[in-house]
Amino acid sequence: MHVHSYEKIWLALGLGLILLLIGSVTYGAVGPGVSMVAADQPTVDPTALDEDDRFAEPRVEQVGENEYEAYVVAYQFGFEPDPIVIPANSTVTFMVTSRDVTHGFEVVGTNANTMVIPGEVSTLTVETGGPTEYGVICNEYCGAAHHGMEATIEVVPQDEFESSTGGSTDSGGSTDGDGSGGDQ
């Protein structure tokens, strides 16, 4: 088969680009440690979330030194808790599930973004920066009032977080990055 020399050069450049793109994602995973939403939680029964101690009472809870978990339930057409209050300069893992249809959970203006599928629990870990506020929206069509489905995340100073929650209920967070983001 005859391949013109220009074609060969082009082919080589194309393959180079492809390897570069794959390489950059690989580097992102092993270098900065960007992790993906994956299959790390067992499934749940979306109609029996009140029997799940994480989602029976959606909240933010301290789970370690400067580490928090936010249990969030998405539903037609909102999120619980709302606002999600989380402490500044901490590591927060969001665990999000749906009690009805497929939703999205997007912290606007950041890369904290996941699908929320009934029966599955999405986890994503973010580093919060200083005190601020973020919007959270559902970015997957979920029904007639989809456009009204929103919440806010309030990143508050640590002391304020503790005084407002007594340590473990109902809080919020900010996000910035999967795995190990900075502030955005």
Binding site: M1, H2, V3, H4, Y6, E7, W10, L11, L15, I18, I22, S24, V25, G28, A29, M36, V37, A38, A39, Q41, T43, V44, D45, P46, T47, Q76, D100, T102, G104, E106, V108, G109, T110, N111, N113, T114, M115, V116, I117, P118, G119, E120, V121, S122, T123, E133, Y134, G135, I137, N139, E140, Y141, C142, G143, A144, A145, H146, H147, E150, D178
Partner: protein, 629 residues
């Protein structure tokens, strides 16, 4: 259309060595080609009628789809909201289904029927069979379409506001799924028709190479069978029985995964007829010849192999699918760039060759000699240019980690309005200006309007798509009636949110104007009377099929490898999904979208009744007239 088969290229060996700048070759578009004996309509009138019917089906869908497009554009951007935001999702579902399933696929079956018959120089085996698949496609799409459009009224118990992805547990009326299934069977039979005709030709020509256009049709058909197998399973075994109440639940992750198993190759299904036209028609319009027949075959084989085992890249953000499966899918996806990159080279080289044959010189000076006044040429070139831009945003989408920034934002529709919305749709419109006279013997009503139309489409899409990408970077979601929220303000990048809204609205309006011009031009063309002398020829490649290794024509081999790759990419994820959540999911309920319409009716009924009662009382009692509140 010409009688010439693609196969027996009488290429001079010199030309293959120095093809791009070869100016010794006196004419480029003539050699090797037998003299044409009239148009496709002259030679294959029965087939021409089928192609014409498929195109008309496509244009009807295009008319409805683009009308809904402008309504959505103005609604979403907040310029004009004459309909409720609930109806927006009905418009959106219809826009998606009519344009990406109906318009594209009806046009595709027309192009493929034309290309196969033309390049084999042989009629279809049995046109009654062809009308049967056409009928199935039309009936199926009509059923699905009616079910969607019924969402506008609560008078009938039909609805399908589930968007074209119909993710469970959102549930459409059974007719929606049933119509899709019938449509799908129609496309399968179309593929069977092409294969039957090819095999008949093979019996008559046992030693010939498969003509290039036929090769493209056959490989794409195999890809379609592989891809749609998952959709058929999803619809027939899960969604349809579930919508009929025969099974209680489905596994949302499983049906999503089966959808995207189909959902990525379908984009190549839309694209392949555009590629076929770029490879075989565009060089001829430019006065040149295809640079390399073997490379074109390689490209189509690569699409057959790689189009399907990549669908999980639409699910990078899905919980319940392990990271490793996503990585495999990403790797395959990146390699899928290769055939498109090769196409960019080959098409540009073929066009440049044509320009140099026409006397073009210089590094870029040859561009001036191209037939820019021809809407078919300019439209396809602009479509190709847009496809390059779409390819770049596609690389961002494919990047597993940066995808998080733009997943389900309006960046994504911005991307696919460049690919399917321009690379495919604009190529189809441009090709219509060239193809329609061939299948009807009627000259185009106005090539000037055609030229203006393709340029407008390009300009409108440049404006709209660019602003959509920019809004996506701000985090504005896709698929929403009202992207403005109470709790926060979008940031600013490449212009503020409102400014970008205005750009989207202006771009969308230009696109709609372009669509109206296109459709009017087609309708007026249909009023022309038939004439002679419209026949166009398709030139032979510079490097012909004799340069292509025989193994390339072994479609069974490539089909087998394609199935194997799909099994490698999908067997483990699907087993894992079923093990996690069960075949019918971890529980949950169905959310029939028809309930929305009913509940709204129930909500509004008391008001409406009160209002009617008032009016009745007023009318009877001769009270205040014209007193609508």
């Amino acid at each position: 259309m010409t009688a010439t088969a693609d196969a027996p290229a009488t290429t001079s060996p010199d030309a293959t060595n120095e093809p791009v700048t070869n100016e010794d070759d006196p004419d480029g578009d003539g050699d090797g080609a037998a003299t044409p004996e009239g148009t496709f309509y002259d030679r294959f009138p029965a087939e021409a009628r089928i192609v014409r019917a498929t195109f008309l089906g496509a244009f009807l869908a295009f008319a409805i789809g683009t009308t809904f497009g402008i309504i959505q554009t103005l609604h979403r951007t907040g310029i004009a909201r004459p309909f409720s935001s609930v109806d927006y999702y009905t418009f959106l579902t219809a826009h998606g289904v009519f344009l990406v399933l109906s318009f594209t696929i009806f046009f595709l079956v027309g192009v493929f029927t034309w290309a196969l018959v033309r390049s084999l120089d042989r009629p279809l085996v049995n046109t009654r069979f062809s009308w049967a698949w056409y009928g199935l496609m039309a009936v199926g799409m009509t059923l699905t379409g009616i079910t969607i459009l019924a969402g506008f009224t609560s008078a009938v118990d039909l609805s399908a506001d589930v968007l074209f992805t119909f993710y469970a547990p959102l549930q459409a009326h059974p007719l929606f799924y049933g119509g899709l299934a019938v449509f799908l069977v129609g496309t399968w039979l179309a593929g069977l028709d092409w294969w039957r005709t090819y095999l008949a030709w093979r019996r008559e020509n046992p030693d010939e190479r498969i003509p290039l256009q036929t090769f493209m049709v056959l490989t794409t058909t195999i890809m379609w069978y592989v891809a749609t197998s998952a959709l058929a399973i999803s619809v027939l075994f899960f969604l349809l029985p579930w919508s009929l109440g025969l099974i209680e639940t489905v596994n949302p992750t499983l049906t999503r995964t089966l959808f995207w198993f189909f959902g990525h190759p379908v984009v190549y299904f839309w694209l392949m007829p555009a590629y076929l036209l770029w490879y075989t028609v565009l060089p001829s319009i430019a006065g040149g010849r295809l640079f390399s027949d073997p490379l074109a075959r390689v490209v189509f084989v690569l699409f057959l192999l790689l189009s399907t085992p990549v669908g999980i890249h639409h699910q990078y953000l899905d919980p319940g699918i392990a990271e490793g499966f996503k990585f495999v899918s990403m790797t395959n996806t990146m390699f899928l760039l290769l055939p498109s990159l090769l196409t960019a080279f080959t098409v540009v080289a073929s066009v440049e060759y044509g320009a140099r044959v026409r006397g073009g010189t210089g590094l870029f000076g040859w561009l001036r000699t191209l037939p820019w006044r021809d809407p078919a040429f300019t439209g396809m070139m602009l479509a190709g240019l847009m496809f390059a831009a779409g390819g770049y945003s596609g690389m961002v989408n494919a990047g597993m980690n940066i995808n998080y920034l733009i997943h389900n934002t309006i960046w994504v529709p911005g991307h696919f309005h460049l690919t399917v919305g321009t690379a495919v749709a604009l190529t189809f419109m441009a090709a219509t200006y060239w193809l329609w006279p061939q299948i009807t013997n009627k000259p185009i009503y106005s090539k000037q309007i055609g030229l203006a139309q393709v340029v407008l489409w390009f300009a409108g899409m440049a404006l709209m798509s660019n602003a959509m990408h920019a809004q996506g970077l701000l985090g504005a979601p896709r698929r929403t009636a009202e992207p403005e929220y109470a709790g926060f303000e979008y940031g600013t990048a490449f212009g503020g949110f409102q400014e970008l809204n205005v750009q989207i609205a202006i771009g969308g309006t230009i696109l709609f104007a372009s669509a109206v011009l296109f459709l009017s031009n087609v309708v007026l063309t249909m009023g022309n009377s038939r004439t002679d002398g419209l026949a166009e020829t398709i030139s032979e490649p510079i490097s012909g099929p004799e340069d292509a290794p025989l193994v390339l024509d072994n479609i069974r081999l490539w089909g087998g490898i394609a199935v194997l790759l799909v099994l490698l990419a999908y067997a483990l994820p699907i087993v894992a999904i079923i093990q996690r959540g069960g075949l019918f999911g971890p529980g949950g309920e169905a959310f029939p979208m028809v309930l929305d319409a009913l509940s709204i009716l129930v909500d509004r009924a008391p008001d409406a009744i009160a209002l009617l009662t008032d009016r009745a009382v007023d009318a009877l009692g001769g009270g205040r007239l014209g007193g609508w509140p």
